[in-house]
Symmetry: C2
Subunit: 264 residues, 2 copies
């Protein structure tokens, strides 16, 4: 019994560690990340098939200087790690982010009573511009949001552009990954969270939205808005009132107004 | 007497019209503006010395199709219009923006009792990124600010990038030009306006800043903050309270939080 408990603890710890890894790929992004000493790097992955040019030599040198483990893989192995064979250019890098996790882990904490306070999260639906993603992270972090749900499908992923636009806040913000946004929101909803879609056509204004309960604010694509699948999960629709017939705001600005609404 | 009154009215009208002109320059920006039918164009200016290539021919064709007057100048004449001989590439274009004016005209209205209500303006100090400038205009317009003070010195100027980032709001927002920001703010101050510098080091929080009076919020450069000359004109220093040790926000986000602070 004790052995199996220990094994399971070990397994869960290991799994939590792997959940905190963010894998970036492509020669330029990986080289830039290796050169940025503020980034906590776990492991460098290289394909055997890479021509040993200056760039690869420079990566190996940086990894050795920073005492970062290097793993060599065949093309297939590498593409399993990068999850993007077409764009990885034979190179991937694991960053170990302390606040990087999954919606699943967050929901499990909730079941155990770990985050039963009235958390507020942002959820991103179709945010494809890395600059905007970085600015959303920065604003949400400064505004004190409890986390950002970032689905793998349909959104920009964390890359050096995003890291740069987040001006270092990426490593302080809780990021919750999931595969698809709609099913993840459905689970949050089943646990009692309010799911609020921001829309310029909504009747209710953000300023009239009160009460205390776990709440998720969904930010949609700037042009297309919130997608249909995600809209079906929304329990509330809210708008930000605007002057001068302006129809929409930059999505990072919207994120900031939500995050700071009780502080300014 | 009547004649001279009419002459002076005519002169002032003409001057107000010319104050509303925004001159952009450079071959690509001018061509793009001519192709954008939503932009109100007054006049196309070309240097005699231009080689008559495809680009120039296309501009002339577009101007003729849109019934826009073309003026031809020697190099010196053209550079007097563009005010940037090094970058105008022999081409300039006047846009006629309905809400584009000067701080001087705004202050004169005040003296005549025209804007004695408690206006709120943003003033830009060292905002050099066109993307940010466009986003500031968009946010301030949506948030219902009464105008934006844009000095010619030290700030990005309105160009096609800014127009694009403003997503069409540029033509609805009152823009007040001046040469240098500090002397312009000094005049506003003499007319009784409160001049508020935003700074992360300020003691007083934006949320504690109440009262009703004409107010100008100064936004400084993201890296260097508000410049010394401008800081000396400030009657108040305010900060936006931030979580997670975040030190600064994107300047367009700051503009949005100020503009929307009473509505969200």
């Amino acid at each position: 019994m004790t052995d199996s408990r220990q094994d399971s603890d070990k397994y869960l710890k290991k799994r939590a560690f792997f959940d905190s890894l963010l894998t970036i790929y492509g020669r330029k992004p990986v080289l830039e990340a290796l050169e940025d000493l503020s980034l906590p790097v776990h492991k460098l992955h290289l394909a055997d098939s890479n021509r040993r040019d200056q760039l690869i030599a420079r990566m190996e040198q940086l990894a050795s200087e920073r005492q970062i483990e290097i793993a060599y893989w065949d093309r297939k192995g590498l593409s399993r790690i990068s999850r993007n064979a077409r764009q990885d250019q034979g190179v991937a890098l694991d960053l170990a982010l302390p606040h990087y996790g999954t919606t699943e882990a967050f929901l499990n904490e909730g079941k155990k009573g770990g985050n039963q306070k009235n958390y507020e999260l942002l959820a991103l639906d179709g945010i494809t511009n890395p600059q905007n993603l970085g600015m959303i992270i920065r604003s949400a972090c400064a505004g004190g949001m409890d986390g950002i749900i970032l689905p793998r499908k349909g959104c920009a992923q964390i890359d050096p552009l995003v890291i740069k636009a987040s001006t270092g806040t990426l490593f302080r913000m809780r990021l919750l990954r999931c595969e698809d946004l709609a099913p993840a929101l459905s689970e949050f909803r089943q646990q009692g969270a309010r799911i609020c879609g921001l829309s310029s056509h909504a009747q209710k204004s953000l300023s009239d939205f009160g009460g205390e309960a776990p709440t998720i604010f969904v930010l949609g694509n700037e042009t297309r808005g919130v997608s249909d699948d995600v809209a079906r999960q929304c329990t509330h629709r809210l708008r930000i009132p605007m002057h001068n017939n302006v129809e929409s705001l930059n999505v990072a600005v919207t994120a900031a107004l939500i995050s700071f609404r009780r502080q300014i």
